[in-house]
């Protein structure tokens, strides 16, 4: 069996003409080269640069720094832990609140409750909007002269600052982030639910199972592959979180995130390789979920 397969492979390779071999090489070579030059090589360079001092201009100025950038981050930069905390809050919020809500929403919409078509559309609209627009839209809600201020009975003259209020801004940011995330998760889950055999659900209904029991005992286990993907997406999105906070606060560290710190060290007061070190820390945190995703997706091929 094995030899037959190898035979076939060799034959097929031999049967390729020179021209064909050239075409195949180009088909693989061009995209791969591009992927390496613009993605993998820069990523590797950043990892190396994170162990250096450099101002980002001349290569000859690069000086070896060893672990100095990392030491500086871990022991000399309190804002790093604040960022880590915010990323963690983001992760916890998404894991325990936004993602489950998206899943439950998908489950209910999949049951074709009244108005399910409209609901599906409405909840998905925020997902197609650019973060640049989302920032503006939510500013209309929250800024002086905006809707929320109006409800609170405050005119432009005596408005309160919502983004600048540290006791509530975390919740506000999480709320706006969920506005987008819930629709995204809903859509992903909805597609998975379409492949669940409807007779399973009917059977459990006839057996007198409650909706919650059906969901927990029938739907969740059959959706395992989708569940893993959604968990990975939730983790990676939480770690990579950036745009929304950047739109609100720019590169200031009013509400720091790892990604904001990376960017802060690239722009503003000159390039510092501390930014590269932050990027590497982010990568290290992302590696686990990425591997989990790849393993799940290429399960059959890896065997």
């Amino acid at each position: 069996m094995k030899t037959a397969a190898t035979d076939k492979k060799i034959r097929s390779r031999r049967s390729l003409s020179r021209n064909d071999r050239f075409t195949l090489a180009a088909f693989i070579g061009i995209p791969t080269l591009m992927q390496i030059i613009f993605l993998w090589l820069p990523a590797l360079i950043t990892i190396v640069l994170s162990f250096t001092y450099w101002n980002g201009i001349n290569v000859s100025d690069i000086k070896w720094a060893g672990l100095a950038n990392y030491k500086n981050i871990f022991f000399g930069t309190p804002v790093f832990y604040e960022a880590l905390k915010n990323n963690l809050v983001w992760l916890l919020w998404f894991t325990f609140i936004a993602t489950p809500l998206g899943i439950l929403l998908a489950y209910q919409i999949d049951r074709k409750i009244k108005g399910h078509k409209i609901y599906e559309t409405v909840y998905y609209i925020p997902v197609v909007l650019s973060l640049a627009i989302i920032g503006i839209i939510w500013n209309f809600m929250l800024q002086p002269g905006g809707f929320v201020q109006g409800v609170m009975g405050r005119d432009i003259g005596n408005a309160v600052s919502i983004w600048g209020n540290y006791s509530i801004n975390t919740y506000v940011i999480m709320g706006v982030a969920s506005w987008r995330h819930i629709g995204y998760i809903m859509l992903l889950y909805l597609a998975g639910l379409k492949s669940v055999d409807p007779s399973l659900r009917e059977a459990s209904a006839i057996d007198g199972a409650t909706e919650w029991q059906t969901f927990k005992k029938i739907i969740l286990p059959t959706m395992r592959p989708v569940n893993i993907i959604i968990v990975v997406i939730t983790i990676i999105e939480s770690l990579r979180a950036f745009d929304l906070v950047y739109i609100i606060y720019g590169t200031s560290t009013a509400w720091p995130l790892l990604n904001i710190l990376v960017f802060q060290n690239f722009a503003g007061q000159g390039i510092s390789m501390k930014g590269a070190a932050y990027a590497v820390i982010l990568l290290v945190l992302c590696i686990g979920p990425i591997l989990l995703y790849l393993r799940n997706v290429f399960k059959e091929d890896l065997k």
């Binding site: 003409s17 021209n19 064909d20 075409t23 088909f27 693989i28 995209p31 591009m34 992927q35 030059i37 613009f38 993605l39 993998w40 820069p42 990523a43 360079i45 950043t46 990892i47 980002g56 209910q108 409750i113 009244k114 108005g115 609901y119 559309t121 409405v122 998905y124 609209i125 197609v128 909007l129 650019s130 973060l131 640049a132 627009i133 503006i136 839209i137 500013n139 209309f140 809600m141 809707f147 109006g150 629709g183 859509l187 992903l188 597609a191 006839i206 592959p225 993907i229 990579r240 745009d243 739109i247 990376v262 960017f263 690239f266 590497v280 982010l282 990568l283 790849l294 290429f298 091929d301």
Partner: protein, 295 residues
């Protein structure tokens, strides 16, 4: 027998009441969900002076589209929309083209490195983007200097197109290759027996079959690239060359006091992707789910 039917009926009635309640609950939140957008549209229809003189919740004295016309004129949105097109269209086409090449080879020829190649592309799509900022920025300037033209890649549409392609091609490759695996091998075998070259096999046999996933990916990626405002902030030094979403971010600072005008601008910029979503909804959804729920 009859008792089970009665029980069943009772159960169904109870369920119906519960469903109505759930529907109302989700409906209420659907309204909360859409409200910020409705509020922005409402704001965009009123002149700024009305809000200043009569307050946020005042009864509208003037409702018209003036802000929209002014936004187009004053903000130069047409110009920025063109910039977006210069980036989005070539980037999407190039991404789909390169992605389909790799997917074709990986799914039709059994080379030893197929899986590693697929992993390289798929993993690339999941890397934190920030990991590439410094070297890409530096590389662009150096490549430019090498050819005696600093804005060959930096501050040029080409540079932005290339980074978009490099990031999106992984997703395209993954989706297209998993789709191609479902295309029967016999089609390829008969093409090879008929003596079709590799290029004809790709171009005349496989590519036409890939229309559905290509359309789905095309819609999805147009939306993603259209929405991105970030690369342009880093790689474009001239404001006038930036795409519309990046421009909007600047206009936000410029027109911060006239927020009715800004509301009109935001709605105009949001319109293309929302319309795309409504018109090509099927492609939109299948593009997203082809990639992420396979398993």
């Amino acid at each position: 027998m009859s008792s089970t039917i009665v029980q069943n009926k009772e159960y169904k009635n109870k369920q119906r009441v519960k469903d109505n309640f759930i529907s109302a609950f989700i409906g209420f939140f659907a309204f909360v969900w859409i409200f910020p957008i409705l509020w922005t549209i409402w704001t965009s229809l009123r002149p700024y002076n009305d809000i200043i003189s009569y307050g946020v919740f005042s009864w509208p004295r003037h409702l018209n589209l003036d802000n929209y016309f002014t936004a187009f004129r004053k903000m130069g949105l047409t110009h920025y929309f063109l910039n977006t097109l210069y980036v989005t269209i070539p980037a999407v086409i190039l991404t789909l083209f390169l992605g389909s090449l790799i997917a074709f080879v990986v799914s039709r020829y059994s080379f030893r490195f197929n899986l590693s190649l697929l992993l390289l592309f798929t993993a690339g799509n999941m890397l934190p983007i920030v990991l590439t900022y410094i070297p890409v920025f530096w590389l662009y300037i150096k490549i430019g200097d090498l050819f005696g033209n600093r804005s060959l890649l930096y501050n040029n549409y080409l540079g932005i197109i290339l980074v978009h392609v490099a990031f999106q091609v992984g997703f395209a490759t993954f989706v297209l290759s998993s789709y191609m695996k479902t295309v029967p091998k016999e089609i390829s075998e008969s093409a090879i027996i008929d003596g079709a070259s590799v290029f004809r096999h790709y171009w005349n046999v496989m590519l036409p079959l890939l229309r559905p996933p290509l359309a789905a990916l095309g819609v999805l990626m147009s939306c993603w690239i259209y929405n991105d405002f970030f690369w342009a902030l880093i790689l474009m030094s001239e404001d006038s060359k930036r795409p519309v979403t990046s421009a909007l971010r600047q206009l936000q600072g410029q027109y911060i006091t006239d927020f009715n005008l800004l509301a009109a601008g935001a709605i105009i910029v949001a319109a293309p992707t929302v319309i795309l979503f409504f018109v090509l909804r099927k492609q939109f959804v299948s593009g997203l789910t082809l990639g992420s729920t396979k398993g």
